[in-house]
């Protein structure tokens, strides 16, 4: 329970932001909160791979982009039914994860990082080549998916999704499936010789994570009302890894804390200087060195 507390506090904080925004910050604050929540959803899914599964994917932003572009293209083509958009985005993300995961998971360690990076770049360049949908410049959406048209509905849809995904990941990691996944991260040979086909478990996790990231992408397209290939760039994949590490890998609250801290620092530091990453970098190093379990470890007292 203690480990979940920081996440619950942050979720509660997100829940009151719309009222807070009426006093201070207005739509600037709500859109900032929405961005943090969407990043948190994507980071939660990535943490299933990195923190629990030991699979350091450097191409996770590609799945976010798949979701975002599915929404973007569908809405541009006049399909604004959210259920339809979600069904298509989920199906594409699952198929892409199944194929690229089946190939990537034949490797591990640095090779896995490189292969997932390569697949991510493939998505990035493919999106940049979509001439009918803005190519490199991206695509502006003139409307949102139907049910998300109202700002407050969009906001609470994102918050609700985050809460559900958080609970879902928590259940999964505590389940039989999650137990095998976590064990395989620590000692895959032993897990295999106990009778588990580790590859199948990892691939399943990879597909699950891809689908959840695509969900974040659908929300992102609706929130930003703009999609561009930059969503799939390797820098965005790197941001997601940073969030996971910053928050604390494989912890119950890590991804949510990490996303909040990331957006907060990005906003705060970039008001100070254009080269905010010059400060952010050393800060990240300090956290990795001195708070090994990330931000969430500062709240957990380990025996």
């Amino acid at each position: 329970m203690r480990a979940a507390l920081p996440a619950l506090v942050v979720l509660a904080l997100f829940a009151v932001v719309p009222w807070l925004a009426e006093v201070w910050g207005g739509s600037y604050l709500t859109s900032l909160a929405m961005r943090a929540m969407i990043l948190a959803i994507a980071a939660l899914s990535l943490d299933l791979l990195i923190g629990h599964g030991g699979m350091v994917s450097f191409g996770h932003a590609a799945f976010v982009a798949i979701g975002a572009y599915t929404a973007g293209i569908a809405i541009t083509e006049g399909v604004t039914d959210l259920a339809t958009i979600l069904a298509i985005a989920t199906a594409i993300a699952a198929a892409f994860a199944l194929v690229t995961g089946a190939i990537s998971l034949r490797t591990s360690g640095v090779s896995f990082i490189m292969i997932t990076l390569a697949f991510g770049q493939m998505v990035f360049f493919t999106l940049g080549a979509l001439n009918e949908y803005g190519a490199d410049d991206g695509l502006t959406l003139w409307e949102r998916a139907e049910v998300l048209a109202r700002n407050d509905v969009l906001y609470f849809a994102i918050l609700g999704t985050l809460a559900v995904v958080w609970l879902l990941i928590d259940r999964i990691t505590g389940s039989r499936f999650g137990r095998v996944l976590r064990a395989a991260r620590q000692n895959d040979v032993r897990v295999e010789t106990l009778g588990y086909g580790v590859f199948g478990f990892r691939l399943t996790a990879y597909v699950l994570a891809g689908v959840i990231a695509a969900l974040a992408g659908v929300l992102l397209a609706n929130q930003a009302e703009f999609v561009s290939p930059a969503i799939a760039s390797w820098q965005r994949s790197g941001d997601l890894i940073i969030i996971v590490v910053l928050g604390g890998m494989g912890s119950r609250s890590g991804a949510i804390l990490g996303a909040l801290a990331f957006v907060g620092l990005e906003e705060g530091l970039s008001t100070l200087t254009h080269d905010w990453r010059l400060i952010f970098g050393p800060l990240l190093i300090a956290i990795v060195l001195y708070a090994k379990g990330g931000l969430s470890s500062l709240f957990e007292r380990r025996s």
Binding site: R171, R176, G178, R182, Q186, V189, T193, L194, G195
Partner: protein
């Protein structure tokens, strides 16, 4: 009596080096078959091929009446072929109980279940506790596995293996690094396991081997040079020259 495990003419080479050079052996129900041999004889390589972590170049492995030569380690394990490792192989971040529960889980229903809390499955935990009890480390159940002493880790390793209720157990130097007392206690435990779980034992501790084994095979440079009862092996000149001679 038909063999649980039947290995025929197994071969494995690394480059020009034949590490397993036409090995044939079998394991009968209720027996302990020990494989002894000098360092570098290819004992661990042999175990790896039997358990499926390494695939042989030629030969056949039959287990429980089935040809498992082409099967991966996970499939063999699910058919009841358990193993332990020479270098302790546990899940360090899991509790002792969860290490064993993971082993029970592999043998009881699908692990593609995503919602129920695995840690609260009583069926898994109870069977895990039974195995821990048998090995005398039940009082360590809630401790992180990484915190155990060397001897306790060896016991955990064995608890993990027997919790799956294997039809045969491959033991790769279970006494490695143990003191005399611990080793003697483990011999007694293994004697108790032998009737239900036939043991293929690799071990350097000759006292343990001669106390436990019903048959002993001597492996030298990838070949079995002698097989027989412990007494026969003690008398066998080839075995003495290859292995026992070194001990004297």
């Amino acid at each position: 009596m038909s063999a649980v495990l039947d290995v025929t003419n197994l071969r494995k080479s690394f480059g020009a080096l034949a590490v397993t050079d036409g090995v044939s052996l079998d394991l009968h129900p209720g027996e302990c078959h020990a494989i002894i041999g000098p360092n570098g004889a290819g004992k661990t390589t042999l175990i790896h091929q039997l358990s499926g972590t390494l695939s042989p170049d030629a030969g056949m492995i039959r287990f429980a009446g089935e040809d498992v030569t082409a099967m991966g380690a996970d499939h063999r394990a699910r058919r009841g072929l358990g193993r332990t490792f020479q270098i302790t192989s546990i899940i360090p971040g899991f509790s002792v109980l969860e290490n064993v529960a993971l082993s029970v889980q592999a043998m009881s229903g699908s692990s593609y279940r995503f919602f129920g809390r695995a840690a609260r499955e009583r069926g898994l935990n109870e069977r895990a506790m039974t195995a821990l009890d048998l090995l005398g480390i039940a009082d360590r159940a809630e401790r992180p596995a990484a915190d155990l002493s060397h001897g306790e880790k060896r016991a955990l390793e064995l608890a993990v293996a027997i919790a799956a209720e294997p039809k045969a157990l491959l033991l790769d130097e279970p006494m490695a690094g143990m003191g005399r007392d611990e080793s003697a206690a483990l011999v007694e435990t293994l004697k108790g396991l032998k009737p239900q779980h036939p043991l293929l034992l690799i071990e350097h501790d000759m006292d343990a081997v001669f106390a436990l084994a019903d048959r002993v095979s001597v492996l030298v440079y990838g070949q079995i040079v002698a097989t027989g009862t412990p007494d026969e092996i003690r008398q066998n000149p080839q075995a003495r020259a290859a292995y026992l001679g070194e001990e004297a």
